[in-house]
Each structure stands twice: as structure tokens, then as C-alpha cells.
Amino acid sequence: MKTTLTRGYAVRLSRGMKTNLKAWILLAPSLVFLLTFTVFPILRSFFLGLTQYEFGMRSPEFIGLENYINFAKSALFWKIMGNTLYFSFLTVLPSMVIGLGLAMIVNTKIHGVGFIRTSFFYPVIMPMIAIASIWMFIYMAESGMLDQLLMAVGLKAMNVLSYRETVIPAMSFMYVWKEAGYLMIFFLSGLQNISGELYEAATIDGASPFTMFRKITLPLLGPTLLFVSTIALTNSVKLVDHIVIMTEGGPNNGSTMLLYHIYQQGFAWFDQAKASALTVVMLVIMLAIAMIQFVNADSRIHYN
């Protein structure tokens, strides 16, 4: 018994593991971290999402899909999903367009481009919390810069953070300002990968700058565009800091987004089960974004 067991192990080790042993050892540290901090929490979220585990309960009770059914029936959940979608809609495309524009500006060989590059990138290195605090002063009711400007030109103060019609557009504007510089960096590296010869040839052929942009820049930026749109979309879904600072989700949840709601459920109300179920929802959304983009766009990209 004893010997066969040992021999069994030895055989298996020599066949499968032994050749890969070095690789396993090298992978082990990151594998341990991945398992502990990514795989395990995800699995645990899946499990807790199927339970009831409210503040004060000693242990989770299995309730199947009830959490998800309740979300589907809850007006608040759909309001929050709507807010999240609206925010993504208002931020992803504008920040990509502006980011590409900025990248094209700083990609030219004009004097002082380093300074321009830095100033465009500057909002990116500031933490969201700091930015939100600064913009809160800009958006502050009546005494804030925005309302002062409006009043100076004879318009009414808007108090943008106070109304559900204006709160998400106001936050989106701030976020586009921050995000565009970040996306610019990716576009810039994409642009610098495009060979200059293509433009030279096009110039000799008499192509207009617009044609060059449409026929050379955009197609060759394909992989970058895909990458950037994925990043921008997932980034816009996983934002939370500015809501904590600026509105706490108000007025009447007009600016509550998915991640903020997860935070509320988990850390303000200690409802681990609902927070986990919402996390699963978020995970599914993120995966879906990534899947759709990679699968769908694969065929249409021109790699260099």
C-alpha cells in the first residue's frame, strides 16, 4: 500500500508536473495572490449572493435567487442601473473623442509640446477624491464658480448637484475632464506606432488631413480604440469616490451608481448578502463588456 502510493505519486509527478515544475514554482507567488484576492472573493460573492446575511445575523442563510428576484422587482435597483448606464453614456464617447483630439495635438512637433502634454495629463495623476473636492466648490450652490458665472451673465443659479436632471451631467463633465488625459496617453502611443511614411506618401498623393485621418489614422488605431473603449467603459462603471464626496448619492438616489450602492449595502448597512449579489451583477456587466468588445471587434481590427 505504502509503496504503491509513493510510486503512484512519483509516476504522476514525472509525467505531468516534473516538466512544468519550474514554471509552477515561478508562478506560485502570483497564483497564490490571484487565488486569495481574486478567485476566492469572487466565489465567495457568488455564494453569499445566494443567501440572506443581514446585520446581526450569526451566519448566512441560503435563499437561492431571492436577492436577484428582489432586485429585479425593485424600482431603486433599476434607477441605479439607469444612472450607471447614463453616466457611462455621457462619459465614454466624449472622453474618447477628446482624448484622441488631445493626443493628436500633442503628437505634432510644435514648440513646448512637453508642457502641453503635462498639462493635459495633470488631472489624471490627481486622485479622484481631490478632484471631487475641488469640483464640489465649483458646483457649490450659488457661491460656487459655476453659479457665480451663470449669475454674472444674467442667468439663474443652477445648483447642479441638487437636482436629478443635472447631477449626473455635472459629474460626467468633471469625469470627462479627468479621464480624457488618461485616454490620451493610450492614443498617443497608438499614434506614435503609426509609421510616418504612410502620411508622407499620402501627402505626396495630395490627400487632405481629414482623409488621412479617416483612411490612415483611424484604421491603424483600431486595436488602440478597442482597448481604450473597454478601459473607458469599465472605468466608468467602477467609480465611487466622487459620489461619496459630492452627493452621497443624492438627491433621492439621483446620483447613486452601482458601485456606490454596493458600498452602501456592504459597509453602511452591513448587508453582506445583498452587497455580494450586487457585486456579482457588476462582475457580469464587466465580463459582458469585455466579451462583447473582444469577440465582436476581433474581425474588424487591422493590426499593423
Binding site: A141, S162, G249, G250, N252
Partner: protein
């Protein structure tokens, strides 16, 4: 093979036993100091942490066998989160400060212990100690008839008003509004617009952001209540939002903005309000007594403090943090924590805490100290807070208090921004509250 395993298991057991034995023997040593961990939240940061450190140092000087290790844990919500995490990690603090409104959650989750046995052990002194706390503050220490917390950093809401502005529009600066009717009447006189129709000064300001609106609303609801009943039942299992009186109170807020046009429209932030008051942009604000030091230091005009104007009756909310002792710690540690709590909540120390921070001392005897008498002589505006306590009741307190606050705040905001009528908003709030509380009934 099996021999080896048995040997290893044996070795592990021996090692484990010896550590247990070692731990036991160290605890038995009389010279060993007892180290207590104390979680405390600081809403405003800065000087308060230094004051807490000082209180701990003073206590340790008197009790050399006890070491208090204060751990600053962010705001009240963060502190609850950290306590829960610490308990799950089997490393809980020995005692902590948190909102009085959290007591139902603290009791139901088995986080805190009832203090009745500790009080009883002190005999007559224990009873006298508890009786000395003002009713308005002591009221929200009870869960099912047991005392779960001891009032410490407590506050109430008062009206700060600009006396110069009162004089300017022909109102008597010594007569702040006493009723809702006067509040509206005075506000209409105090509001000031420029030629373009922009407001130079609002009549009145109430913070309506999430986390603040529910506090002021408790006051307004009490003022309009027929029988003086609060927004929730005393056992914390039932909310009373959907009443015609509460809808009227909310209607008043909406009217102050839209009908009477005397309050800034939309949602003004709690933290912005004192600044606006100091800049002369609003003539009266509803705010915490905790802001008195700030306002008295920075006001460039004469200002007064006043009771919250009443309607059917006088009313005001109390709020703030209490001491709790964590469940599951050794009895001698509970006693040491209890000793510290009594030390810090002595009449003199609470009086000093009142002076240093602006929180209202929750004990009657604190107000007989020379410290407070001198303070009132220096700053008469400070007296109003104490005088208002007999009319004050605890802010909205139920099981799952922070979820309930959110529900009330959301629906108040829905009425303010015109998404719902006040009556609808209160009805929605009731439905949502019943849903949350049904598992406790």
C-alpha cells in the same frame, strides 16, 4: 508513514499546549498591565484626537495597572465597519464610542453588552450616576429596558441668527422666532434680493443633504406632533413616517423654498451652511450646538442662538455618540473599561469636554460646575443648548438605523426636488421602512 504523522500531530499538540500554558502564566502575573483597546470615531478630526489622548493619559496616571490604547477609527460609519471586522477577526476593541442611534444594532448583533450589572455593582453610587444624566440624552441608551450605552459626545440642534440683520429689517434682535408662523414671517422680512433678482441674503437655511435632513426633520416632526410622539417607536421596531403631521412638516420645508421664497432652493450641504451664515448670506440657520465655537470665533456681526421654533409644541432632536462595552471580553476587562467610562464622564470632565468641543455635557451636575458657569458668562449663547434639552428627543432610532436614515433622507429629498408631494414622500418612506423593519417585528 503513519508513525510519522502521529509524531507530527503529537508535536503540534505539545507545542499548542505549551503556548496556552505560557499565556495562562503571563496573565496570572500580578505585575502585568491590562491593555484595553478603545475605538473612537472623530467626526471632525484634528484637536479632538489630542483631547482623547489626554483623557487616556490622565486615566493611566491614576490607574497605573491599566493601559488604554485609543484607536482613531474614522467617522461613525467607518467605526461600525471596523468593529464588525475586528469582531469577525476575533480581535475586538474592549470598548468604543458610537452613535446612540446604533444601540439597537449593537444589541441585536451581539456587539455590545448591557451595562446594568456593572451599574448595579456600584450600588447607590451607580444609580446616582445614571440618574444624573439628562433625560433627553439618557433616553436613547435603552434597548428593551436595559442600558446599553453611556452618553458622551452629545449635541442638539439650535437656531443661530444674525442680530445685525434682524436690526436692519426692523426686527427685535433679542426676540428670535418662537413659532413656525414667526419663522416664516421673519424670514420673509430678512430675505434680500438685488436688482437682477438674485438673492443677497436668504431668510433661513436648513441642510437637506443625506445624513443631515433626518436630524432637523426629527425636530420639525416633534414640533408638529399631536402627542409628542417621535418618528419611531421606543423599541425601535416601528417607524411612524406616514402621518398628516409629518407631511405638514415636510410641506413647510417645501414652502420655505417655493411658496415663501425665503430658503435656498434644492439641497444645501450641512458643511456649507455655517460658511453661508458667517458670510451674511443667510440670516438664520438650523445647526448643531457643536458649531458654536466656530461661529463665535468667526462672526463679524452680533449673533444669537435660539430654541428651534415650535408649532404645536416645542421640540428638538438630540444626537451624538455614546460609550459601549464590547461583548465577549473578560469580566475584568469589562470592569476596567467601565472604570474608564466613569472616569471620562465625570461631571468636571464632561464640562471641560463641552468647553473644548462644543458638544453638550449630558450630565446635570456638569452644569453646576464653575467651568460651565464661567463659560456661560463668557458666551451666553451656549446656554440655549442646555435649556432646550427638556424639549429634545432622540433623533430617528430604530433597528438598522443607518438604512432607515437613508430611507427618510431619500424621500425628504424627493419632496424637496419636486419628484413627489410631501404626503406621497412620507407614504413611500413608510412603505420602505416597514419592509426593512418587518424582520424585527
Amino acid at each position: 508513514m503513519f508513525k510519522k504523522i502521529t509524531l507530527i500531530i503529537l508535536l503540534v499538540c505539545v507545542a499548542a499546549l505549551s503556548t496556552v500554558g505560557a499565556a495562562g502564566s503571563t496573565e496570572a502575573k500580578p505585575a502585568e498591565k491590562m491593555e484595553l483597546t478603545f475605538f473612537y470615531p472623530v467626526q471632525v478630526g484634528g484637536p479632538l484626537t489630542a483631547l482623547i489622548d489626554k483623557l487616556c493619559a490622565d486615566f493611566m496616571a491614576e490607574n497605573p495597572d491599566i493601559v488604554i490604547k485609543p484607536v482613531y477609527t474614522g467617522n461613525y460609519d467607518d467605526t461600525v465597519a471596523k468593529i464588525q471586522t475586528a469582531i469577525q477577526g476575533k480581535n475586538p476593541p474592549d470598548f468604543f464610542i458610537n452613535l446612540a442611534t446604533q444601540r439597537f444594532s449593537m444589541a441585536s448583533s451581539g456587539t455590545a453588552i448591557p451595562l446594568d450589572d456593572l451599574i448595579k455593582a456600584d450600588g447607590a453610587a451607580g444609580k446616582a450616576y445614571i440618574d444624573d444624566f439628562l433625560d433627553g440624552f439618557m433616553e436613547d441608551s435603552y434597548v428593551d429596558g436595559k442600558i446599553y450605552s453611556i452618553p458622551f459626545q452629545r449635541s442638539t440642534m439650535v437656531v443661530f441668527y444674525n442680530k445685525d440683520a434682524f436690526a436692519e429689517v426692523g426686527l427685535d434682535p433679542e426676540k428670535p422666532p418662537k413659532s413656525w408662523k414667526e419663522l416664516v414671517e421673519y424670514s420673509r422680512k430678512l430675505v434680500k434680493k438685488d436688482a437682477a433678482g438674485n438673492y443677497e441674503r436668504y431668510g433661513v437655511g436648513i441642510a437637506l443633504n443625506s445624513g443631515s435632513a433626518q436630524w432637523a426633520f426629527t425636530g420639525f416632526a416633534l414640533q408638529n406632533s399631536v402627542d409628542g410622539k417621535n418618528l419611531a417607536s421606543e423599541d425601535g421596531k416601528k417607524a411612524y413616517f406616514d402621518t398628516p403631521e409629518n407631511a405638514e412638516a415636510l410641506q413647510l420645508w417645501v414652502d420655505l423654498q417655493n411658496k415663501y421664497d425665503v430658503m435656498q432652493k434644492g439641497i444645501v450641504q450641512w458643511t456649507d451652511l455655517p460658511g453661508q451664515f458667517l458670510a451674511g448670506k443667510v440670516a438664520m440657520i438650523y445647526h448643531t450646538t457643536g458649531n458654536l465655537t466656530n461661529i463665535s470665533k468667526n462672526a463679524s456681526f452680533k449673533f444669537g442662538t435660539a430654541f428651534m421654533p415650535g408649532n404645536k409644541r416645542m421640540g428638538a432632536p438630540t444626537g451624538g455618540g455614546n460609550f459601549y462595552i464590547t461583548a465577549g471580553i473578560a469580566p475584568e476587562r469589562q470592569q476596567a473599561a467601565w472604570k474608564f467610562i466613569k472616569f471620562v464622564t465625570s461631571a468636571e470632565r464632561l464640562a471641560q469636554w463641552n468647553l473644548d468641543t462644543g458638544y453638550v455635557a449630558p450630565r446635570t451636575s456638569s452644569f453646576q460646575t464653575q467651568l460651565i458657569k464661567d463659560y456661560w458668562a463668557r458666551l451666553p449663547q451656549a446656554k440655549v443648548a442646555f435649556e432646550q434639552i427638556p424639549y429634545a428627543k432622540p433623533e430617528l432610532t430604530t433597528y438598522e438605523a443607518s438604512r432607515m436614515w437613508r430611507i427618510l433622507n431619500d424621500n425628504i429629498q424627493s419632496a424637496i426636488t419636486g419628484e413627489a408631494t410631501p404626503a406621497q414622500a412620507m407614504k413611500n418612506a413608510q412603505a420602505q421602512a416597514d419592509e426593512v423593519l418587518k424582520r424585527y417585528q
